[in-house]
Amino acid sequence: MSSEVNTDFLHDKRLDAIAADLLRPVGISKGFLIWMGFLTISLMGCIYAYYIQWDKGLIVTGLRDYVSWGMYIANFIFFVATSLVGMLISSVLGLIGFKWVKPIARIAEIIAVAFAAVAGLVIVSDMGRPERLPYVFMYGRIQSPILWDVTVVTTYMVLSALLYFIPLIPDLAISKGRMGHQPKWLQATYEFLSVNWNHSSYQYKILLKAVRILLILIIPTAFAIHTVTSWLLAVTLRPGWDSSIFGPYFLTGAFVAGSAAVVIMMYFVRTNYKLDKYLTVYHFDMMGKLLVLVSIVYLYFNINEFLVPAYKLKTADAIHLHELFVGEHAMLFWSVQLLGLILPIILLLFKFFRKPFPMLVISIVVLVAAWFKRYIIVVPTQENPFLPKQFVPHAWMVYQPTVIETAITMGTILLAVIIITILFKLFPVIPIWEMAEEECSGEKDKHQE
């Protein structure tokens, strides 16, 4: 983000064309209503599943005394992980000065807001007594990583929301007069949220300052949020979790999942909103390169995480690694590692696979694998506790998720999709003013054409 905004674009005709393009998908359309209807009805089913769990307790899940963190906590880690991409795209790449992230930054922020917001709810789904949630604040201990996690997830969500909202303000002001066909309430919302924006250079100065503070602040916060999430597991002595590299291991994995999510959303915006002029093949190519980079870093941490304990084979680690490599979870483990990590790295090295459609397919596989990767991290460790196993029933030792549990997990994903859909549909998803400024000041990256 540059330190000054050249406001010439406000008087340029090209702004009208850009605004018309980017505002075209905004608003309540028939497709939007059908899609939202579908999501809402599906969510109702999942809420009913949660009602059953609320009524009967966690006994309706596959969770028992030994595996007490199953699908829910795996899902929580997945949500936190995916939300981190907001920081990677906007802050790290934006502050370095990569111009190609400009049309993608808001998509990344929307993913960050949606996934961070739902992550908190996912934790509640794992609680047998959700009405005791306030106890975390009433009796929480500063010594506990759980309290740190609550703190950083909340902070990250607020920062992401601000980082979504503040750069949106000029767009709201630009859009105000250009949406005569939109419902009154939406126009009123734009009016209210545009906080008297009149494009003065003074306001732009304040905006750039505020955004810069947020961009810097969100980097340590994002590092903290996923490092602390990894500590929830790593501060125990259990095989598979007792690792000093769990923080960076989680963090780099998060970038892989998040980048894949961004690519999927980019493809959706490009084709459904017909915005291929703004999200070009070049952008997909760059995202492909980014995905390769973060995947290679993640692969490096994977090698460390599995090779070093496998070389030493401490008793408990040996049982755990045996389960992963050739035992009960081997199929899932190798699928996740090969399809979700190694194969994408190899394919994305070729330019052909960095084109939009191949990128979409690869990203979907990577994102699904990312979810199962968290499952592989959470569940097998608990199936091999340090506690004696000889007097316990079989159901305690082997975790089998139930339909209700799966439905509730699906519900959280639906909820994130609903938030993303609403933000995509009600506000411009690509920054109008930044696109216009770039176009008019001739700063546009040459490669983008």
Binding site: I169, N196, N198, I206, A210
Partner: protein
């Protein structure tokens, strides 16, 4: 997959073997009877004891909600449990086996009989047989136990007496056990002794038994023959142990302590970080306000959208 079946088979075999193994009660123990008649008050007391000592594994009688152990703890109302004679139940409570602990030193035999009276209240067909009175019957309520300690010999002396024929008389030939109270249950000191003609029983006290910070140990002397003496016992605290001061683990600030005893460095780090980050967030919120205000005052430099 093959491995899972193997482990499943192994579990089935183990549980089969464990359940097939009968818990054999020696005949003389099985024939033992309660020294007193079961009544509402014994059942009530037994229910309280059951709640604190048995329910966590056996569940609520008749509800079949015992926890899943191998072998499964039987429901107290079940035919399996009720099929035991009173003496067999008493024997099993005293001796324990596998996951079932022994309550020999933690619950007095009178209280164990009360638990049995509670268990029997779930069996409508049960008709109680009471043990015939033995020993010096009738003296039960008046039995007194007096504990003293001699420092020179490091011995604890128990003197047992009872009111008989309107005067206090020593009880000879009664078996007495001395216990020291520990964190979990009672520790038998020396061994069971019989009182001499003066009603005295002498116990050799170990020199190295840890006491509290002043060396106090809670002692309890009990007559083992409940049938004859009822619950005669004496609880006393004597300075017979080695003074031991172990600062409790939750005394000082530590990671495992309550929030009020958070380590200072952690408290400061947490508060400082949260305040620092959130002060920036509030600063940014103020900037939004500044944008709003600037919009009111500076209407020049505006484009009409």
């Amino acid at each position: 997959m093959k491995k899972r079946y193997l482990s499943l088979l192994l579990i089935v075999l183990i549980s089969f073997r464990l359940s097939a193994q009968e818990w054999v009660v020696p005949a003389e123990n099985g024939a033992k009877l309660s020294p007193f008649a079961f009544s509402d008050s014994t059942r009530k007391a037994g229910a309280v004891l059951f709640q604190t000592n048995c329910k966590s594994c056996h569940g609520d009688p008749g509800k079949n909600n015992a926890i899943a152990l191998v072998p499964p703890p039987p429901d107290p109302a079940s035919a399996k449990m009720q099929g035991n004679s009173d003496g067999a139940l008493f024997f099993k409570l005293v001796s324990g086996k596998g996951p079932m602990p022994s309550f020999k030193n933690t619950i007095s035999s009178t209280d164990l009989w009360r638990v049995i009276s509670y268990i029997r209240s779930f069996n409508e067909k049960y008709v109680q047989q009471i043990a015939p009175k033995s020993g010096i019957a009738g003296a039960a309520e008046n039995v007194k136990v007096l504990l003293t300690w001699s420092k020179e010999t490091n011995q604890v002396q128990a003197v047992i007496s009872a009111m008989k024929e309107k005067r206090i008389q020593p009880i000879a030939g009664a078996e007495v056990k001395l216990f020291a109270k520990r964190y979990f249950g009672n520790l038998l000191i020396d061994e069971a002794r019989n009182t001499d003609a003066q009603g005295k029983a002498i116990f050799n006290f170990p020199k190295d038994l840890p006491g509290d910070s002043a060396g106090f140990v809670q002692l309890s002397a009990r007559l083992t023959d409940d049938a004859a003496f009822g619950e005669a016992k004496a609880d006393t605290t004597l300075a017979v142990g080695v003074p031991t001061y172990r600062p409790p683990l939750n005394e000082q600030r530590a990671m495992w302590n309550v929030v009020q005893k958070t380590p200072i460095w952690l408290l400061l780090a947490y508060i400082f970080t949260v305040l620092a980050v959130w002060s920036f967030i509030f600063y940014v919120l103020l900037q939004i306000r500044a944008i709003y205000k600037a919009g009111i005052n500076k209407n020049q430099d505006t484009i009409d959208s």
